[in-house]
């Protein structure tokens, strides 16, 4: 019976040709671009500089996991016609939904603060003006843009600034890594139980399979009112976007691993991180890195603030959506404004941008498995999903994602407990 329903339910979905596949690719690439925010760039750079290529296998492992988690975020929104926070509240009640969503909100605001710091540090690199003086103007401009303009339209243009990070691909080739080592470390898992390696693993997984992206994907489906028709095209789009995101991450690690780790250089400032682009850009590496970080920040910070607001508004049942005017969804936009204020305060108080960026991703790595488990339970619930319930392969990959992240979290907690916190 279930099989028959499934067949009837999806009978409208025709086989896709190559041109259909190309046409399907679009918004997912933007989401993939937003995944590589300044915190992500910093994390991949720190991982490459401290462990070389040793954690490349985690990127390969996390790619199908990231794709599946994003696909189920889109699917659950398209079937239930609402965002994740609302769905968690209406399915599991406020006792489960409130802590899960508030953890995401806290992680987002901390990441916003760290991203603001990174943008300010990037501006210091190119202007010479102390980063502290850039934080308030940056936060003010971005808050204004998020609240008073149509951010979803703007983000399509901002993505071109993030395309700068594609230069890491060229930089990696020009740095002449030992491709045999790169391939080996990508295909053969190498596990170390040192606190630095484990923290790096949690941060790498947390910045790749990142909680705010689940909420952004689901909120995007609801705002665009996409629905269950054309879900195959949507999945192709998400797959392309997430592969692009992880390919960029892979080459960031390869170039920082080749340029910095091989020469025992660590990353303490944004200028250190920019050195990985020198094989491609030479003396312009700093400028190129700064443009990329500013573009990534402009793209990601409003997304982080909006996801925090979607979460809180979903819990409270308030009107929400970036497509609405501020006066039509006042509480939603107040939460966005407050997120910017708190993030600005955090950025002003923090003293080490690279550490702030890295530890914000560790926090994401701790929160992500909780949300993945909740989403898997939602999308495996036949009452909610009907014939769109998770397939066996989706369940296996999804639970593996949660399992790998929990294992990394536990091993890190155990080792950090014994040896202290050091990056």
């Amino acid at each position: 019976m279930a099989g028959a329903q499934l067949y009837r339910g999806r009978a409208h979905e025709k086989r896709l040709g190559f041109s259909d596949v190309l046409r399907a690719i679009g918004p997912g690439v933007i989401t993939g671009g937003a995944d590589n925010d300044p915190a992500g760039i910093a994390t991949y750079s720190v991982v490459g500089a401290t462990a070389g290529y040793a954690q490349n296998w985690l990127l390969l492992l996390s790619t199908p996991m990231l794709i599946v988690v994003q696909q189920i975020s889109a699917k659950v929104a398209n079937v239930t016609k609402t965002d994740l926070a609302t769905l968690l509240r209406s399915t599991y009640g406020a006792r489960v939904a409130t802590p899960a969503v508030l953890l995401m909100v806290v992680a987002n605001v901390i990441t916003m603060g760290a991203d603001l710091l990174a943008m300010a540090a990037a501006l210091e690199l190119v202007t010479g003006i102390r980063f502290m003086f850039w934080i308030v103007p940056l936060a003010g401009v971005m808050a204004y843009v998020t609240i008073f303009t149509d951010y979803r339209v703007l983000s399509k243009y901002l993505l071109w600034l993030v395309a700068v990070f594609a230069t890491y691909i060229l930089a990696a080739f020009l740095a002449r890594p030992n491709w045999g080592d790169v391939l080996l470390s990508t295909l053969v898992p190498h596990v170390s139980f040192s606190p630095a390696y484990l923290l790096g693993s949690v941060a790498l997984l947390g910045t790749t399979i990142t909680p705010y992206l689940f909420f952004w994907q689901a909120a995007g489906e609801v705002e665009e009112k996409r629905g269950v028709q054309g879900m195959t095209q949507r999945n192709i789009d998400i797959t392309a976007g997430m592969i692009w995101s992880n390919v960029t991450a892979f080459f960031i690690i390869v170039s920082t691993g080749t340029v910095l780790y091989a020469h025992h250089a660590s990353i303490r400032t944004a200028a250190d991180a920019a050195r990985a682009l020198e094989p491609f850009a030479g003396r312009y590496a700093t400028d190129l890195f700064a443009v990329g970080i500013i573009g990534a920040g402009l793209l990601a910070i409003p997304v982080l603030a909006a996801c925090a607001a979607f979460g809180v508004a979903g819990l409270a049942g308030w009107r929400r959506g970036l497509g609405r005017h501020a006066q039509n969804a006042p509480q939603f936009y107040v939460v966005i404004g407050l997120s910017f204020l708190v993030a600005m305060e955090l950025a002003v108080s923090a003293i080490d941008p690279i550490k702030a960026l890295f530890y914000s991703q560790v926090l994401d790595g701790l929160i992500a498995p909780v949300l993945i488990v909740l989403m898997l339970l939602l999308t495996s619930n036949r009452k909610l999903m009907g014939s769109y319930v998770n397939s066996l392969s989706t369940k296996v990959i999804g639970w593996s994602a949660a399992g790998v992240m929990v294992l990394a979290d536990l091993a890190t907690a155990y080792q950090v407990g014994g040896h202290g916190l050091q990056v």
Partner: protein, 134 residues
């Protein structure tokens, strides 16, 4: 549309803001799937108001809509396992509104009941083939 709206300036309209006006390509076919939305309200009177509010909506055209007053109401037969939740809410004195809409309208209908009429809770049944919905 903009010109028509502008003719009402000074007669109830202060201004026409059309900067968000976009032409959307409708690549979703209507009539393929239906979804039923169930919303609980503090009492039956509020549920009736919400129903009236929904009927006045310009674009939303429910295929079926009504409030439920008892657990034996035949409307509850179409909502599968959600009927249990609806009956519990009715036992607690809440009002229940049910509406069956085309899947392409379901986002708007849920948004209306979830955010604009401030239901206690709103749930949506999974999409089913339109000819099997009843």
């Amino acid at each position: 549309m903009i010109a028509e709206a502008q003719r009402y300036l000074g007669r109830g309209l202060d201004d026409v803001d059309a900067h968000r006006l976009t032409v959307k390509r409708h690549d979703q076919r209507r009539g393929l799937f239906d979804q039923t939305i169930i919303a609980a309200f503090p009492n039956p009177a509020v549920a009736d108001h919400a129903l009236e509010f929904m009927r006045q909506h310009r674009r939303l055209k429910p295929k079926e809509a009504g409030t439920v007053t008892s657990g034996d109401d035949p409307l509850l037969e179409s909502v599968g396992e959600f009927a249990t939740d609806a009956r519990k809410a009715l036992d607690a004195g809440h009002g229940i509104l049910l509406t069956r809409v085309d899947e392409t309208d379901a986002f708007e209908a849920r948004e209306l009941l979830d955010e604009d009429t401030r239901s206690i809770w709103t749930v949506v049944t999974p999409p089913v083939a339109a000819n099997r919905a009843r």
